[in-house]
Assembly symmetry: C2
Homo-oligomer: 416 residues x 2
């Protein structure tokens, strides 16, 4: 099927008719509300609902007049499919209410994007074999980088939901305890190893009750959509604190997500098989079907005074653990996921050294500094560097993208 619209959409646009991602936006005349991206526009779904676009489908207007998608998500997958279909038809068709009321379209450049989802809990996985191997080599043991549990379960930890912010939010260089060398007392200072982590995030769309696991075969139906995710990290803080209870202040100062949530339906064309898993996983983790996604990812760095350049190109298609396995594992003990939970993939690194999804890996923990086009060197991020992540799937004419996830590093805040 090839879709076309009366709206002029750049063929290179992330926001094609096949995508239709959801977000929360506001503008000079509009309070925060639910919108849908198309080309360089946003469809004001609140206003569209108000004039009756969805009136045949028992979808209450109010869910669109919210500052998060949570209430809309709660309507369930059938209502989401309706909204998607109606908008798709409206955009494709000539006899279109949207076309008639073009005030329902807001230019993206005139809108402010907000955090799309009220994050209930944030869980971050560690599902790239290449990343886990690289990090294990640097932080622990070059000979045995992978821990014994890694190929048996999608290892994960809980992060802080409060510090998940939307693209565009700057990140101040955090301070913390840093140990200069083994055995030394820690000192208190700004991190000198500020890093990004290239990840994608899943938004949970259906809750499971406490005590009731979600089986690996039903896990698909518990996902609403995906975002890009930057898990900002301070490696020196992380290294000193993380044993034995895991990462804490090295991570929880900020996690950024893209403003547009791409619905799982839009990602179907990019589904592929994941890599073989050896040893065989336990039965509760045995998934079937195409569970991985072939999505082109890139990370660009722009120094404060310089121009942007791509420093990493990666793809989640080889992630060792897929989303169904992650959900099955997360809930196998009865743990309840709620609408609005954010599940990160963990850093998405490939085997090529240009595909490493963090400075830690790209520069071998600073041992091999990166040389930028302007001659500048980077072991880790410097103040006023901007990190921008982009992602899109492409299959024939069908292009579905995530827009940009961007954040600038600002100097540490003055303490009182």
């Amino acid at each position: 099927m090839h879709l076309s619209s009366w709206i002029d959409i750049d063929p290179e646009s992330d926001f094609s008719l096949y995508n239709l991602p959801y977000g929360i936006f506001s503008s000079a005349s509009r309070s925060p509300r639910v919108g849908m991206a198309i080309g360089s526009f946003i469809i004001d779904l609140a206003a569209a609902s108000k004039i009756g676009l969805f009136e045949d489908f028992e979808i209450p207007n109010e869910v669109f007049y919210r500052d998060s998608l949570n209430d809309f998500i709660e309507l369930g997958v059938e209502k989401h499919a309706v909204v998607r279909k109606v908008v798709q038809r409206e955009l494709a068709g000539q006899d279109s209410t949207l076309r008639e009321y073009q005030t329902l379209l807001v230019r993206q450049q005139n809108a402010t994007m907000h955090l799309p989802v009220r994050i209930s809990d944030f869980t971050d996985f560690y599902s790239s074999l290449e990343h886990a191997t690289n990090v294990g080599r640097i932080f622990r043991d070059p000979e045995e980088p992978l821990l014994p549990n890694w190929k048996h379960m999608p290892v994960a930890y809980h992060g802080k939901a409060s510090s998940v912010v939307v693209s565009g939010t700057p990140v101040h260089r955090p301070r913390g305890q840093i140990q200069k060398s083994p055995g030394a007392n820690p000192s208190f200072k700004e991190t000198s190893q500020l890093d990004f982590e290239l990840e994608m995030g899943y938004i949970i769309g259906k809750s499971n009750p406490l005590g009731q696991p979600v089986s690996v075969n039903q896990a698909d139906s518990h996902v609403f959509g995906m975002v890009l995710l930057n898990d900002w990290s301070a490696r020196d803080i992380q290294k000193w604190e993380y044993v034995p209870l895991g990462p804490f202040l090295g991570k929880n100062f900020s996690t950024s997500v893209s403003p547009w949530v791409v619905p799982m339906e839009a990602l179907v064309p990019f589904r592929v098989d994941g890599p073989p898993q050896d040893p065989e996983v336990l039965p509760y983790l045995r998934s079937s079907g195409e569970q991985n996604l072939d999505i082109n990812l890139e990370v660009a760095l722009k120094p404060g005074q310089g121009s942007e350049e791509v420093i990493c190109q990666s793809n989640p298609k080889d992630l060792y653990w897929n989303i169904s396995q992650k959900i099955a594992h997360h809930t196998i003990n009865g743990c309840n996921l709620r609408i609005g939970d954010l599940l990160g993939t963990g850093t998405i690194s490939g085997s090529a050294s240009t595909s490493y999804g963090s400075m830690l890996e790209l520069t071998h923990a600073g041992a091999k500094p990166m040389v930028l086009a302007d001659g500048g060197k980077r072991r880790f991020l410097e103040d006023f560097d901007t990190i921008t992540m982009r992602a899109h799937g492409q299959k024939g004419n069908v292009r579905v993208g995530f827009g940009e996830l961007s954040g600038e590093v600002l100097p540490a805040i003055e303490l009182d």
Copy 2:
């Protein structure tokens, strides 16, 4: 000052005039709402507000007609002090509206208690030196049980907010991956090492903006009150999964809290100095004043068919890290705490072997089973065991308690 009331309050009651804790209750005729415990009664603060008890103080009725304390907490410390003072005066005085309208009082036995706070994020610390030493000895190295960072920072990790439940909620025995011996492949089964952890929890009462640390000297003003907390744990699951990212499924299947939140003001009489800290902590962690609490804690175990017996008596007064240090540390990197965040102390163990706050420690990981009064033995918890935690401070006539935190272990749920 000695307070007395026209209500008959048992001198042994946890809920004296000095306490006045907040909770969320409902009854046959009342939807969930804010209440305050006094003796064996609950004051219906919603109804009390409606008839004008707080009308001179600009406190909106609506905050009491909620199914969580969050909106009430958001009013701020001055309004909380007003409510407390008005109720205290009402209960002590002869010329009392509450006395006139005794329908504002609900017997606790006729009420259902709910989770008092909508938990925003749950962070659990690890602040008992004795517990960290005991666990380090069992899980890691008997010679060097304490890790190098432990005396430099209040180590912590993030838990799952969704699975925090109120007292009375049973816990189903979780399943998960368990490694029988080093090098073996894991198998999937029910935990055979189900445990409790005796903790107290702090409810954050004032948010800090992302990027803005709370200084150790201002941290006090960010706490609303305290609860009892049982951090249910599955030790065999935990042991296999926790390296390198920390506890996950071994903990997040359930965390219980007591229904009554004791305001910090009620705990002032029990404030004591904490233990000396050596080596000296970094400046951002140097607190002053009496930051610890002298509170009698106990844990009782009741087998399904047997009678209850106390298996642990402890006290948080010797916790190595105090709450001001915990908040200063948690936010020093700019991490934002929000109203409704729950901060656990971590297991509160003393030096006496009867004061260990978990089965793991009490039975030396099962090596020295506990013999119960009915002759039964326990390495860890068995199905239909009920764990009840209690806590109270006593200073002269002044008694302030937390009520009970109770939960029964039920068999694992059948999987589809």
